[in-house]
Subunit: 456 residues, 2 copies
């Protein structure tokens, strides 16, 4: 009798599970259909990219983006929309940089691009002999005797053998972020950095660099991978080749800016927040379409989809457009500070900041048990392009929430094209595929819905 | 005792399996490394696209492509390189097409593009009232009374709810391929076809269309998705809107062209052939970089990789660059005819003709048992982007080999961007990502190597 009862229970339970899976599948299909046929993310990105443009922290465009995002989210009619004040650095590039090298075969102009945060060259060219190095070890081995008074040229390419280009990036980016410090310690007068690009092309890539208190601040700029190869070749023929650069960049006083936040209140557990976000600032040389206009409009689209379909989520869904990811992370830090001060309970934070490319995976900092729970959803997402949910990185802006025990999740689109455009003048709207952008938004919305229904 | 022996056997067998898997993994890694760091496919595509350009069957560019491919494959030093003569149709577009519509609000010029194979309009504009339809049923329901003397405008969009854009394409392409026949049966004087594009943009897409003996041949052209929306809107306001088109296209006498073939002979089973190929012809409006320059240089790269790494395959590997996929399939038909006449034994034919985008899957016509054998290789390819090997389509050029019992395999890159550029003036080299192209070539080479080692 008991066994029979168990069978009946098991039957009802398994029917329930099957019915639930079918229900989940239908709900996700309706989210995907809405996004692929009626979404607004692509037209919003068009506006953000083409009518506002590159929006470095402190720039008029960054402020326009804040105003636009707040207005747009209010028009969407979410439960609440607000700003979080953030003090951000205000670095400006100034007049277009100029660079050239001179050797036995004459003078060759090359496009250079100041690294974000670099000092300028006082309205004049500075020149010096060039010493090429692959890494900091080689630099240190050469020592002050060789380096002093010279321009250090960091020329270690991104390793093409990494399949994920972000892995190649993270193994090369120390040259850009720390190169000026390490070279200045040995008396260098400036640094040139080979751009963080996957291929050989003529676009210099900017990006953040740092100084260290007590070490002199020397100018730092990127040259394209093509010009890096060219210069390296010249140096092999003529090690007396000099490089000259002129940059007008400078750091102005900090300014006030904002994170933009919108939310739909949960119907059953309104105190449990699921964050989905990207960063509203971008570099100034392109229009920041992939980095991270795409992530912003995808995050906005998640809430827009719920609203349009009339889905009232069980848990609160919050869209956060962070300010100042590129050169300070002040928005992410402020957000986490306020979340802590206000005793907010975030159960998950999802960041989309790896380009608006075709969706492939989610990576997460979740514990094994939460990860296992999420991996059970893989079959629901697979048909829309998500191959796996696996352990990995969340995102820079949501990073500061980790100390508060929040599960961080990074949206992982295909990475092969990203470092052709990242931080360059060709990170522009025409490089975004409407369908790729929408499919990304759809998968993120589906994951948000699942977390909102079932928790983690 | 017997049981102990069995254990020992099982132990050795499992060690053997593990060692083999490790060995396979290392071999594939070396194939991938070679392709990502030293391949020539991208620079070859640059030449094919930018120095030769669009290469419709019968054009001087198609002949240049044959000469270039044969020369290049010979320089690679494979065991043999030869041409297969193919008689191909010779359709020419002539002077740039002109089109406009006229209604209450005046005259609006639109870009049109003759469909491949269409008759022209005898050096003059032809004009008529426009009847918009979604499909052949609607057309037939309207009947001859409505259609006679009119221009039929087929305006059924590709359905965005298909995740694979090829599925959306196959559900819409009857308008382009058969529209002129169905409309002419009812007395239409011409057809306009909404372009087979995933999004709304201004590029008309060409592509093959057919006539039927006994049904009059009427001119057929594509208009862009943007103009299709525009014209549809105008027709709602003013159903007396007329369309005018002028096209100089014509079909000239057939000409002789060639498939280009190269092979590396197998060391153990030279009579068992593994074909890898794409098609050398392309439409004439772009430079055919994705369709199918990418597939050609990837197929060439497979053999180049084996040669460079000094891998002597167990089975024969043959690269085939087919002529005339776009408007006749004469190359594919001739190849199959010769294969049969020469009693050749193809164990597999792989086609790469879905764009040079980031790799995602292989699809195959294989029986369940062969499919199961291939699916055991999925873990070896997953890290390089292949999510699955599954039942599905092979490819147009290799299609005629199916009757000979050959397992057909289609390389499946991500499809989201493909129908933004397919058969348009923007199918150009700058739309190809070097890394995506190379990763595709690497995965195809890895699969070829596995089939060559283990058969199917």
């Amino acid at each position: 009798m008991k066994i029979k009862r168990l069978y009946i229970l098991a039957f009802f339970f398994s029917s329930f599970v099957v019915a639930n899976a079918q229900n989940d599948s239908l709900n996700i299909r309706s989210i995907v259909n809405q996004t692929l046929s009626n979404s607004v993310c692509y037209s919003r990105l068009d506006y953000l990219s083409n009518s506002i443009g590159g929006r470095l922290s402190g720039s008029p465009q960054a402020e326009q983006a804040v105003v636009w995002a707040q207005k747009t989210l209010k028009e969407d009619g979410f439960d609440s929309v607000w700003l979080q004040e953030v003090i951000v650095p205000h670095w400006v590039r100034g007049a277009k940089e100029e660079g050239f090298f001179t050797g036995k075969s004459g003078k060759t102009k090359v496009a250079i691009c100041a690294l974000g945060g670099s000092v300028g060259t006082n309205q004049k060219f500075i020149s010096g002999n060039v010493v090429e190095v692959k890494d900091f070890n080689q630099l240190k081995n050469l020592g002050e005797a060789i380096i002093k008074g010279k321009i250090v040229f960091f020329n270690r390419p991104m390793d093409p053998l990494f399949i994920e280009t972000f892995d190649a990036y993270s193994h090369a980016v120390d040259q850009r972020s720390m190169g000026a410090i390490e070279a200045a310690k040995l008396g260098a007068i400036a640094v040139l950095v080979r751009s963080m690009g996957s291929n050989v092309d003529k676009n210099p890539h900017t990006g953040a660099m740092r100084y260290l208190d007590g070490v002199s601040k020397i100018p730092a700029c990127a040259i394209s991978t093509y010009d890096a190869e060219l210069l390296s070749g010249k140096l092999k023929q003529d090690n007396q080749t000099t490089f000259s650069l002129k940059m007008s960049c400078e750091t102005l006083p900090d300014v006030i800016s904002y994170n933009v936040v919108a939310q739909i209140l949960g119907s059953e557990k309104p105190d449990e927040i699921i964050l989905v976000g990207g960063h509203l600032d971008s570099w100034d040389n392109g229009d920041g379409s992939h980095d991270d206009g795409a992530g912003c409009v995808q995050s906005m689209e998640v809430l827009h989809t719920f609203k349009t379909l009339g889905i009232r989520p069980k848990r609160t869904i919050r869209c956060v457009l962070f300010m100042n990811e590129e050169n300070g992370l002040k928005g992410g830090l402020k957000y986490a500070e306020l979340a802590k001060a206000n005793f907010e309970k975030h159960i998950a934070a999802i960041e989309t900041d790896a380009g608006g490319f075709t969706p492939r995976k989610f990576s997460t900092t979740a514990s094994d048990s939460s990860l296992f729970a999420m991996q059970k959803w893989e079959p629901l997402l697979k048909q829309y392009g998500i191959e796996e949910i696996s352990q990995g990185h969340g995102g820079a802006d949501i990073g500061p929430l980790k100390n508060q025990g929040v599960v961080l999740i990074g949206f992982g689109p295909d990475s092969q094209r990203y470092f052709d455009i990242h931080h360059t003048a060709v990170d522009t709207f025409d490089k975004v595929s409407k369908r790729e952008l929408e499919l990304g938004a759809a998968n993120i919305a589906a994951l948000v819905w699942l977390i909102s229904e079932y928790g983690l």
